[in-house]
């Protein structure tokens, strides 16, 4: 075993050098994230109408995000495991607090205002819920028993329900799926999965009843955007025009008319993918998708290399949640999915989700770079 450790040390030192090792960075993943951030800034420069202010603000956010990533990467994963139940408990209490006294913004209550700092508890639950589920399941042998699955489901459902009540369907969906990914990765039987999917399918009409009017509207508009071409359908129609008019090679950087002439709404934030598609065309999109695929693949590889159940489950589910972000955003912008307000990770302008994402990758880095210490 000692030789093993020596070999792995030597191996890592040769590949990444002492700097990266001391920073606890996985270089391929870091390169992927930096590449994505750079692409994001380039597209944002165009989408914002060449507004340097926007670029500076986004760069500051990215710097803060990478700082958080560096900090979390240094913390050994067993600490995360120890803190998880406490953070989860605090998160649920904060979600309740948001419901009770949350400030009203855009007709939905999502924020807690601490004077200088505005905090969105639902955002951190995207990372905390899978960790909590993983922590609970890792206590027992896998695959989990039915009772454990039921208990884990409760861990998922409580925050999800609280977030739906805010109401923030997009985040609730992501929080729930991040938890469900842990369950799926833990090796629960496919028969159980199939029966749950069956039950949810039958329950869908009941869920419809609980949706807010604007949420129903979004789903209806998704089903037929031309129904409401000047209202909610306008987003999708204009976004499809932007993407389609980009063609194979695009209109060129800074030359997208849909975004620059303001036909495309939210072109710096949720619909930035359409700007990229318009200006860089199909080729540019393939490049972006390749970067995302690389990050997801590397993340999944890291999860398989993790040395205990908690680490494996957390790493895998965080990576898959990241992919859900990517897929839901692109699906929405290309008209495959209904409009839910999710940003394109690391490309869209905006801070909250960027910080969450970086935190998740920090945990991933930590899991990967603290392996050899655990192996002894």
């Amino acid at each position: 075993m000692a030789i093993d450790t020596q070999q792995s040390r030597w191996y890592e030192r040769r590949r990444h050098g002492p700097l990266m090792r001391s920073l606890h960075m996985d270089v391929p993943l870091l390169v992927g994230l930096l590449l994505l951030s750079a692409v994001g800034l380039i597209v944002l420069y165009s989408a914002s109408g060449q507004d340097m202010d926007v670029i500076i603000r986004q760069s500051i956010r990215l710097a803060a995000g990478f700082t958080l990533l560096l900090i979390l990467a240094r913390i050994p994963p067993q600490h995360f495991a120890r803190w998880t139940p406490w953070i989860y408990g605090i998160g649920v209490i904060l979600l309740l607090a948001v419901l009770v006294m949350g400030e009203i913004g855009k007709g939905a209550q999502r924020w807690l205002d601490f004077g200088v700092l505005r905090f969105q508890p639902s955002e951190m639950m995207k990372v905390v819920v899978p960790m909590m589920v993983a922590w609970y399941l890792a206590e027992n042998p896998l695959p989990p028993s039915r009772r454990a699955v039921a208990a884990a489901s409760l861990i998922i459902v409580i925050p999800t329900f609280l977030i739906i009540r805010q109401p923030d369907l997009g985040t609730a969906l992501l929080v729930a799926s991040s938890g469900v990914f842990v369950l799926l990765l833990s090796g629960i039987s496919w028969r159980l999965v199939a029966s749950v999917v069956g039950i949810l399918g039958t329950a869908a009409p009941v869920l419809w009843y609980f949706l807010r009017d604007y949420q129903k509207q979004r789903v209806l508009t998704f089903l037929n955007p031309e129904n409401d071409p000047l209202g909610a359908g306008y987003h999708i129609i204009q976004s499809k025009i932007a993407i389609g008019s980009g063609g194979l090679y695009g209109k060129g950087w800074l030359n997208g008319t849909q975004a620059h002439l303001d036909f495309l709404p939210e072109h710096s934030t949720d619909f930035i993918f359409a700007v990229l598609a318009e200006e860089f065309g199909f080729i540019g999109i393939l490049l972006l998708l390749a970067i995302y695929f690389f990050i997801v693949a590397r993340g999944l590889y890291i999860s398989t290399q993790a040395q205990n159940s908690f680490n494996r489950l957390v790493a895998g589910s965080l990576v898959l949640t990241f992919f859900v972000y990517v897929f839901v955003n692109i699906g929405m912008v290309t008209g495959l999915l209904p409009v839910v307000g999710l940003p394109l990770p690391l490309v869209s302008y905006g801070g909250t989700s960027l910080v969450t994402m970086m935190a998740a990758f920090g945990v991933l880095m930590s899991i990967h770079t603290h392996r050899r210490l655990l192996s002894s």
């Binding site: 695959p143 002439l261 036909f263 999860s303």
Partner: protein
């Protein structure tokens, strides 16, 4: 027991996890495949479609209206021009809230309730995304005040437009006509593409009849605009072709003399050059300032004009129909001579009245005692009614109808102006069709002195006079003299009109009548002696008095006893110089009384101006 002390099988867990991750990776790959397939569909297969939509989003094709042609008189005096003026315009589709926008604008710029009313009226008949004017003729200060606040009013902008302006105001207003905003009916009739940028169209007069020449051809501009419709730049421009300028046959100098001498009266004057058919002056008094109509007249103002007892909106020269009265007598005399019912030697004894054989009804002469023995010349000079009763009786209605038709009575002259009326030259057929009655012999008599059913327009009367002056040669009366392509000095005269001819039995008959008309004006006993006195050129003329008010059999008509508007219309026709006529005039003064004294001096004033060397304007 086992559950309480679970054993972890690390190897199994690792295997299970790895296989699940592989499944996840496959799912990720499949979903990315779906995304790629979707993008292939959007960006490659449907690229053309979306590229077109994107282009349509961005590029608007905006019509550029042509500049309307100018109107000049025959000497190049400007009668209708285009003045730049700033108007405040709103594209309702692009405002956030129309009512709030209007309220905000009212705080900034004076907008009267009237402006708002007409704005709302236009709002109802507008085309989509049309810019609707809210206020016209903004002052420089108002333009500046709005410019500072423009950002607060999306969809509102200042437009520099050309506004039609008529510098002479009501002078010649009926002839020139005016333009006004296109209304709903016109919208359906006009060529939608050529008028796509045009807001005004000719409503009356030359502005209407020469609309297609004055208007020009629309141009187009490809504009790039953003989602809020602000134009960012012009990509391509096909310039409009401006309308052609018109030169009228009108001489503004004569026109002003005519209208000034008719100031305060109601009536019309038409002066024609018999050699060419050119209308030298065409006045209808009172006139109306056409500038009122250009950007929409308020309903109150319009109602006032409509209800005005003097009817300023009514073009008397073209649509006023009056009994010709005694002005018909030269034509009757000519008919008698040409049909050989009378000769210059034929004498009729006038004793103040005439009765048909076997009838007791007395047809009175205007002179109570009668004129004694009259021949054709003295009958014209003294305007003896009895002579013409006899002549009409001898000619019969059919021949009167036939002969007077040669002079264009009873039908439109076909002048290049809209709305002309045809007057009325009665015949047996007409009476049967219109009144379902037979023609009575007594009606022939009163037709013979231009009363009864007879109606003429001043234009017809002037044209008939021109034909007489011209010894039977008929020239189409017209109002446009030449056209000119904008920015070119090349003035293109209108092609000459086809000539017609009145059949002539003996040219000396015409000399007889013309000579008698010369005596009307130039002999002391003539009914219009004062009109021709001291003229440096020789005038021929004929007075006429048309009854408005029926006088009973045994009563006498006394002007001072009759209310002003029931008094007789005064008519006068004349041409000069007698030997080689250059100008033929018909004047009607409504309720003016006697033709020689009320209408004659007006004709004389116009002729004097015509024959004097014209001072430069």
């Amino acid at each position: 027991m086992q559950q309480r002390t679970p054993l972890k099988d690390h190897l199994r867990e690792t295997h299970s996890f790895t296989s699940r991750v592989m499944i996840a990776l496959v799912c990720v790959g499949l979903l990315l495949g779906v995304v790629v397939a979707r993008l292939v569909y959007l960006q490659i297969l449907s690229h053309e479609h979306f590229a077109t939509l994107s282009e349509k989003n961005r590029v608007n094709i905006v019509p550029v209206p042509p500049t309307r042609g100018l109107i000049y008189d025959r000497n190049g005096v400007l009668l209708a021009q285009n003045l730049p003026s700033f108007s405040l315009e709103v594209i309702p589709e692009q405002t956030d809230n129309l009512e709030a926008t209007l309220a905000g604008l009212r705080k900034l710029i004076t907008i009267s309730d009237d402006d708002l009313d007409s704005f709302r009226k236009r709002l109802q008949q507008k085309r989509p995304f049309e810019s609707i004017p809210l206020r016209f003729r903004l002052s420089e200060e108002e333009v500046a005040r709005f410019a500072i606040n423009r950002y607060r009013f999306p969809g509102v902008d200042i437009q520099a437009r050309l506004t039609r302006d008529y510098p002479f105001g009501k002078i010649a207003s009926h002839t020139i006509g005016y333009v006004g905003r296109i209304n709903e009916n016109e919208l359906n009739e006009l060529d939608p593409s050529n008028y796509s940028g045009t807001t005004h169209v000719g409503k009356t007069g030359v502005e209407k009849s020469y609309e297609n020449i004055l208007h020009g051809t629309v141009g187009y501009q490809h504009e790039e605009s953003n989602a809020r419709g602000r134009v960012l730049r012009v990509l391509q421009r096909i310039p409009p072709k401006p309308g052609e300028n018109l030169y009228l046959t009108i001489d503004m100098d004569l026109q002003m003399v005519a209208e000034q001498s008719m100031e305060g009266k109601r009536g019309a004057l038409v002066a024609i050059n018999p050699k060419t058919g050119e209308v030298l002056a065409m006045a209808s008094v009172p006139g109306v300032n056409p500038n009122l109509f250009v950007n929409g007249i308020s309903s109150v103002q319009y109602k006032d004009l409509q209800d005005d007892i003097d009817q300023p909106l009514f073009n008397r020269a073209l649509t006023g129909q009056y009994p010709p009265g005694s002005t018909i007598k030269p034509f009757m005399a000519l008919a008698g001579l040409e049909y050989k019912e009378v000769t210059t030697d034929t004498q009729v004894l006038c004793q103040g009245s005439y009765s048909l054989p076997g009838d007791t009804h007395r047809y009175r002469d205007w002179k109570r005692g009668g004129h004694g023995f009259t021949n054709v010349t003295s009958a014209i000079v003294h305007s003896c009614d009895v002579y013409f009763y006899q002549l009409a009786h001898d000619l019969g209605v059919d021949r009167i109808y036939k002969y007077l038709s040669y002079f264009g009575l009873g039908k439109k002259t076909g002048i290049d102006l809209p709305g002309e009326l045809s007057g009325l030259l009665p015949s047996r057929e007409w009476k049967r069709a219109a009144r379902h009655e037979v023609w009575y012999p007594g009606e022939t008599l009163i037709s013979g002195i231009g009363q009864g059913y007879n109606l003429v327009t001043p234009l017809q009367l002037a044209e008939a006079t021109a034909i007489l002056a011209n010894h039977g040669t008929i020239l189409q009366p017209h109002i446009v003299h030449a056209t000119q392509v904008s920015n070119s000095s090349n003035i293109v005269p209108e092609s000459p009109m086809p000539e017609g001819k009145v059949p002539i039995a003996a040219p000396k008959n015409w000399d007889t009548v013309i000579s008698a008309m010369k005596d009307v004006v130039n002999t002391p006993t003539g009914t219009a002696y004062r009109v021709g006195r001291d003229a440096p050129y020789l005038i021929a003329g004929k007075t006429g008095t048309a009854q408005v008010f029926g006088v009973k059999q045994n009563e006498r008509y006394k002007a001072q006893d009759v209310e002003e508007r029931l008094r007789d219309h005064a008519l006068f026709i004349a041409f000069a110089p007698v030997d080689d006529p250059e100008i033929a005039i018909a004047v009607v003064v409504e309720n003016g009384g006697h033709g020689g004294s009320a209408a004659g001096p007006i004709a004389r004033a116009v002729m004097d101006r015509y024959f004097s060397s014209k001072p430069a304007l």
